[in-house]
């Protein structure tokens, strides 16, 4: 009996919460290296389990008829949906999976805020002396409701675009930016009205949840495929912040810490992504790709040179007699499902004594680090994957660089042509290697719609065709040599 009372005491639960967020932080710090990451993730999951268990121990948690059943139903539905989704998702579909998980998190915040609102608020500085509704700060609640709702709807739109249910190209209305700002102003104004004492559930639903929902849709719809990594990252940060706000409203330390850490990490990632693409976050949010860049003209003008087409056999010979080969993969590789074929080619070349490395641009793929996961799935050891800053000094010593399904991230215009829309964007400097082979489906330009002088370079040859078929062909030729 006494033990039971102790386990339900606030002190014990607070202590369990501290253990929980300690485990989460420790687990996250394991993610700094591939060797410790698996364990780190598990430790963080244990932290989460401790937090949930402590919450269920709370005195009065099962107060009210049927609460146990409802809790179990909620947990079971979540497990039944979450487990198969996580087990079966393809690695190429990871961005939309993350978007979806992010969206439901934001949705949970918005729903919780709604229920809290229905119960009215106790001012932050006067918590009820005994029991009662554990609400304090109306402002945090409204903030959580706005951000959570934006995140829910925005993530769903991002999911739809990545899953190609919705068209990937930007969908824009005239004056979109003005409308978005106006919507945000309306939501904040309603929040101020509600926080200053007006109690109206209708106003909360329409003015907070509804307006934020429209805003979430409007912000993400105009954003094109290339900017999606930044958007997902940003929405991830948003959901984290909204979870922290809910934690503040409920005065729950583990929610505050966990939510804020996600907010911080999402902010860092968003910033890094945007830098790697030479774009500013406000410009991305203000309008789809192209909106800020302007017309996709080939500003250089002198790129009308001729391209040199090559054959799989020539490529095989070139690669087999090289000493250092670098493979620069882009999203085109993932679209063609060519990861495994590339790994075969790498093995065939290594069997001939060729040293092969992979050059990974930070925005290769559809989300930060996506290409690394795709190659890891194809059993490429992570030691062979080099980050942009590590591999760039090595290109002058590289005999052949094989560019597969990458375009803008290898465009030397980013370095050489101040007039180019992507000028200043950090790139893989593949053009500094002795020879470049580009695998391309056609001469269509990349997402940015910018011409790539690399293709017209004298030392560049192009192998046209589907990436997977081309790579397999080259591999067969290499093995036959």
């Amino acid at each position: 009996m006494i033990a039971g009372i102790f386990l339900q005491s606030t002190d014990f639960i607070d202590a369990a919460y501290i253990v929980a967020f300690g485990l989460m932080i420790y687990g996250m710090s394991g993610l700094t290296g591939p060797r410790t990451a698996v364990r780190g993730n598990k430790i963080a999951a244990v932290g989460m389990a401790v937090a949930v268990a402590a919450t269920l121990l709370r005195h009065g948690e099962f107060h009210g008829s049927g609460t146990v059943v409802l809790i179990v139903v909620g947990l079971l539905i979540g497990t039944a949906v979450g487990v198969p989704a996580a087990r079966n998702v393809k690695m190429t579909a990871m961005p939309q999976m993350v978007a979806l998980f992010n969206g439901v998190g934001g949705g949970a915040v918005a729903l919780i805020a709604w229920v809290e609102y229905r119960h009215g608020f106790v001012p932050a500085h006067h918590p009820p002396a005994t029991g009662g509704w554990p609400l304090r700060a109306e402002g945090f609640e409204l903030f959580g409701a706005i951000i959570g709702s934006i995140s829910f709807w925005g993530s769903n739109i991002a999911f739809g675009k990545l899953q190609e249910i919705l068209p990937g190209r930007p969908i824009k209305l005239p004056g979109q930016a003005v409308i978005n700002v106006a919507l945000l102003v309306v939501a904040v104004a309603v929040a101020v009205v509600l926080a200053s004492g007006t109690h109206s559930e209708l106003l909360f639903i329409v003015g907070i949840l509804g307006v934020s929902a429209v805003l979430g849709n409007m912000v993400v719809l105009p954003i094109g495929g290339a900017d999606m990594p930044v958007v997902i990252s940003l929405l991830n940060a948003f959901t984290g912040l909204s979870a922290a706000a809910t934690g503040l409203a409920l005065s729950n330390p583990v929610m505050i810490v966990a939510g804020m850490i996600v907010g911080a990490s999402g902010t860092i990632l968003t910033d890094q992504m945007a830098k790697a693409m030479n774009r500013s976050v406000p410009a991305i949010v203000a309008g789809g790709f192209g909106g800020a860049v302007g017309a996709p003209v080939s500003s250089a003008g002198e790129t009308e040179g001729t391209v040199r087409s090559t054959s799989a056999q020539d490529v095989a010979i070139q690669l087999s007699y090289a000493r250092h080969v670098v493979i620069a993969p882009g999203y085109g590789l993932a679209v063609a499902q060519a990861q495994h074929a590339v790994r075969e080619l790498e093995r065939a070349l290594e069997a001939k004594g060729v040293e092969v490395k992979y050059a990974i641009h930070p925005v290769a793929g559809r989300m930060p680090g996506h290409m690394n996961v795709l190659l890891a799935e194809a059993d490429v050891p992570y030691d062979l994957l080099r980050e942009m800053d590590d591999i760039n000094p090595e290109f002058p010593r590289t005999d052949v660089t094989l560019v597969i399904g990458a375009n803008d991230v290898t465009n030397p215009a980013a370095r050489n042509e101040p007039g180019s829309p992507i000028y200043g964007m950090p790139i893989l400097e593949v053009d500094r290697s002795s020879a470049v082979i580009v695998l391309k489906r056609s001469m269509a330009s990349g997402f940015a719609g910018i011409d790539n002088p690399l293709f017209y370079d004298d030392k560049t040859s192009l192998l046209f065709g589907d990436a997977k078929a081309s790579v397999s062909e080259v591999t067969a030729e290499v093995q036959a040599l």
């Binding site: 996250m28 993610l31 591939p34 060797r35 990451a37 698996v38 963080a44 989460m48 937090a51 269920l56 948690e61 009210g64 609460t67 409802l70 139903v73 909620g74 947990l75 539905i77 979540g78 949906v81 979450g82 996580a86 087990r87 690695m91 990871m94 993350v98 998980f101 992010n102 949970a108 915040v109 729903l111 709604w114 229920v115 119960h119 509704w133 997902i232 959901t239 984290g240 005065s251 330390p253 583990v254 929610m255 505050i256 966990a258 939510g259 804020m260 850490i261 996600v262 911080a264 999402g266 890094q272 793929g365 989300m367 930060p368 680090g369 996961v373 890891a376 059993d379 050891p381 980050e387």
Partner: protein, 108 residues
């Protein structure tokens, strides 16, 4: 000290911890990092659990059950998918003796 002030102090410190820990994560692991942190904001499930016992009326209970289900999807799905991804990252070098020992320990 007011509880709110303490909570805001926790918030600020957690922000700095987040920046410090996450800045050291290499690009290679950014996708697992994103799905892992994604799982962590599923902590909102606690909000649903805390409120459920004190809610009244069908609407509130329905909203909270959905919230708990959403939060659970977020947590379980996020951690599982991160685990799956991280399991794929393999080194070319043979594992160190400590790692072999750890793996054996795990197997038993």
């Amino acid at each position: 000290m007011d509880r709110l002030v303490v909570d805001i102090a926790i918030l600020v410190l957690a922000g700095f911890v987040g920046f410090a820990v996450i800045s050291r994560v290499p690009n290679t692991l950014h996708t697992p990092l994103m799905s892992g942190t994604n799982a962590i904001h599923g902590i909102v499930v606690l909000g649903g659990l805390l409120l459920l016992s004190e809610s009244s009326g069908v609407l509130e209970k329905v909203l909270l059950v959905i919230a708990v289900a959403f939060g659970t999807i977020n947590v379980i799905g996020g951690f599982l998918v991160t685990d799956r991804m991280l399991g794929m990252f393999k080194s070319k070098e043979p594992p160190t003796p400590e790692e072999t020992a750890a793996a054996e320990e795990e197997a038993t």
